[in-house]
């Protein structure tokens, strides 16, 4: 039982880390423009596909040594994923959200849902295809799941700690979350752009008066969220070995839940919310006895937890004390 507890702890934390990496993107954007960017799940999906394309362009290496794979291949794939997701996020902001900046709150929300559908279908229909020419020979199409390349040293590797089996992709996800959190803390608290972001989230008009270029700050917020989503996309590919055009929907929904749970608008809250949600799902699968305890009920318990938190702390676990915008 103790072993099972620690096993589910690891399962829950690593799943939660994946949610957290995506949740940061929701929370950063919400904190600045009060927009629930429902297309963020698709940014995560495009990050995974960007990494996959990078691997294809590198000549589909499968026999690189462990050291080269970890030090060259994996970083290149992450950067490739980031380029794809950041470019998509910035373009989305420019064409789908900026024209609606001063429109009623519902307009950009619907626009976000439209972007989400557009991006899913775009990948489904056009991945591996050159427009007006046709399919690229040898490239898979994304109409069904695409096998993600395995990285020597991570994919399929495990560490045995007592009775607990830890998979390397899970460690990669947790490590990526740790590095990203440190990077985010530094970015927000110690760089000029980061502090401009904080100022803009507190009061956009005054920030503009102080000489902050609000448009650029908003683009930076989308870019930061997209970069972390790309890391999550690579982690997803490594963990599950498959990526597909629909993967962003459920992951995005769960990550959005995590962001609300932690307190939307609060970056640390997104990280905590993600981990708590992942843990709740894993623990509910095992430790709730009786007929309500099987895996069929894990999402029910996760959302029961969300409702309880919101009843007693409407601002979320780490949210701002005063909720002045809802």
């Amino acid at each position: 039982m103790v072993e099972l507890f620690f096993q589910q702890l690891i399962n829950g934390l690593s799943l939660g880390a994946l949610y957290a990496l995506i949740a940061v993107g929701y929370t950063v954007v919400y904190g600045i423009v009060q927009l629930i960017n429902f297309a963020h799940g698709e940014i995560f999906m495009i990050g995974a596909f960007g990494a996959f394309v990078t691997w294809m362009l590198l000549g589909r290496p499968t026999d690189w040594s462990v050291a080269t794979s970890l030090l060259v291949l994996l970083p290149l794939m992450i950067i490739g994923g980031m380029v794809a997701s950041v470019a998509t996020a910035v373009a989305t902001e420019r064409f789908a959200y900026r024209p609606l900046r001063n429109a009623p709150r519902l307009a950009p929300l619907i626009s976000a849902i439209g972007v989400s559908v557009f991006l899913q279908e775009f990948v489904r229909l056009f991945f591996g295809t050159i427009p007006f020419v046709g399919r690229i020979p040898g490239w898979p199409d994304a109409k069904s799941a695409v096998p993600f390349p395995s990285i020597p040293g991570i994919s399929g590797q495990t560490i045995q700690l007592g009775g607990v089996l830890i998979q390397m992709p899970a460690i990669f996800t947790l490590g990526a979350l740790a590095v990203s959190t440190v990077f985010l803390w530094y970015f927000v608290n110690r760089t000029k752009t980061g502090r401009a972001m904080v100022a803009t989230s507190q009061d956009p008009d005054t920030a503009r008066l102080m000489g902050i270029n609000v448009d650029r700050v908003i683009v930076a917020a989308f870019a930061v969220g997209a970069a972390l989503a790309a890391v999550a996309g690579v982690a997803h590919g490594l963990r599950y070995g498959n990526i597909d055009f629909r993967m962003g929907f459920l992951a995005g929904l769960k990550a959005f839940t995590a962001a609300v749970l932690g307190g939307i608008g609060n970056i640390n809250g997104a990280v905590v919310g993600g981990l708590v949600l992942g843990l709740a799902e894993a623990m509910a699968t095992t430790f709730i006895p009786g007929q309500f305890g099987s895996s069929a009920w894990k999402d029910v318990w996760a959302f029961v937890l969300l409702i309880l938190v919101l009843v007693f702390r409407p601002q979320g676990l780490l949210g701002a004390k005063v909720v002045d915008r809802a």
């Binding site: 399962n11 799943l15 069904s144 799941a145 495990t158 089996l165 070995g241 993967m247 895996s295």
Partner: protein
């Protein structure tokens, strides 16, 4: 003003769709040119995009092959058959729209499909209202032919037939195989869809009756990609095999994650995981699947189908249900031979096609093709397949007693 235009448009659309689906008196099919060739269409409703498209496209191509052969041999004098394929995306709502579209086409006389039992549950009523015969090569849920209550079977729709066996046969066959292999403790997992749940229920009953023990019964969400929590729980129960009710898009990753989490026991499933994609997505050596019929490649009757399919130059393989779809199309064509012979137009032959279906009997690609009083296939042959060296290999063929 705007509001009124919208509601007017809504009423117009509603009226149009009623006129199209109802028994209107439109007779634009068969323009009465005397000896001129008339057109009858055989529809296909199957997933042609999305995770299950490998199976759906195999079905569509096989029906296309059957139609081309019938036209080449002039099977129905005076009539030319055409294919009308609709994508259902493995989703009931989309399938219903596809069925409505086919039902409103007066030239459609029969439909091959669907792949998913859950889609058939909404497609069949639409086609039944229009008297269009439906033959599924792949629905294995018993309720489609025998109604919701197994104790008092009642056939819900007279227009529904299938060329494959059902979960009521497939689940017990898997249970017998595992018990025969000395496996007494299994865990079951299903995806909460009609197919997966039905399969697991049939399996569980037979496995317990045979002296086996189900040590864990779990479910997953079809949209999930992380199964680690379920796997850890199942692993703690110590099963010797995992029986999975569902399809390969989840089964492949599930098998992969099981083995990565140290649960190194075979995953066994039904015909929904019997596809090359299962192995591509993570199915490993030792995993098992039951599928309906004997292996297509070994049957003499199937060799002609495989040869013709390969010669047809189709981009996709015939997949698990190709031969069944081919037989389903030929069953419809056999029925059309009598029903169309005296018909003035395709639409008026619809109900005769349904009644003549019961008399259809021939040697098809998968063996004997014929239907019992429920619309189920008379064949109860199944095969267990095993992943070996990265390929599905037939392990044992037999008939459920």
């Amino acid at each position: 003003m705007n509001k009124r235009i919208y509601s007017l448009a809504g009423v117009a659309v509603l009226a149009a769709s009623l006129a199209l689906t109802g028994c209107g008196a439109r007779t634009d099919a068969g323009t009465g040119g005397g000896s001129a060739t008339k057109v009858a269409k055989i529809g296909v409703i199957a997933p042609m995009s999305g995770g299950l498209s490998a199976m759906g496209l195999g079905m569509k191509n096989s029906v296309d092959l059957a139609i081309k052969q019938a036209n080449a041999s002039n099977a129905i004098p005076g009539w030319k058959l055409e294919l009308a394929a609709e994508d259902d995306q493995a989703t009931p709502d989309v399938g219903k729209n596809a069925a409505t579209k086919l039902a409103s086409d007066d030239q459609v006389v029969g439909v091959v499909g669907t792949l998913n039992s859950s889609v058939a549950q909404v497609v069949t009523p639409v086609l039944a209202a229009a008297n269009i015969v439906q033959v599924s090569p792949a629905n294995t849920n018993p309720t489609l032919t025998k109604g919701a209550d197994p104790a008092t079977p009642k056939r819900p729709y007279a227009n529904y037939f299938r060329t494959c066996t059902t979960d009521a046969v497939q689940g017990p066959f898997a249970a017998q195989y595992l018990l025969g292999a000395g496996i007494k403790k299994v865990a079951t997992i299903h995806d909460k869809k009609a197919y997966g749940q039905g399969l697991v229920e049939a399996f569980t009953t037979a496995f317990k009756a045979g002296g086996g023990e189900v040590v864990a019964a779990e479910t997953i969400n079809p949209d999930d990609s992380d199964f680690s929590a379920v796997i850890s729980k199942v692993k703690a129960a110590g099963p010797a095999a995992v029986y999975y009710g569902g399809e390969y898009p989840q089964a492949g990753p599930l098998s992969k994650q099981m083995k990565a989490a140290g649960l190194k026991v075979p995953l066994m499933g039904g015909d929904g995981i019997y596809d090359g994609k299962f192995i591509e997505l993570g199915g490993t050596d030792g995993d098992l699947a039951t599928s309906v019929g004997a292996p297509v490649e070994t049957l003499d009757s199937a060799k002609a189908f495989v040869a013709a399919y390969n010669a047809g130059g189709y981009a996709e393989g015939y997949s698990a249900y190709g031969a069944y779809a081919y037989d389903a199309a030929n069953a419809i064509i056999a029925s059309l031979k009598t029903s169309l012979a005296s018909a003035a137009d395709a639409k008026s032959a619809r109900s005769a096609t349904v009644t003549d279906m019961a008399k259809v009997s021939f040697e098809g690609a998968t063996g004997k093709v014929g239907f019992d009083e429920w619309g189920d296939s008379v064949s109860r042959v199944l095969t267990v397949y095993k992943v070996d060296g990265g390929k599905w290999v037939a392990e044992k063929t037999g008939e459920l007693k």
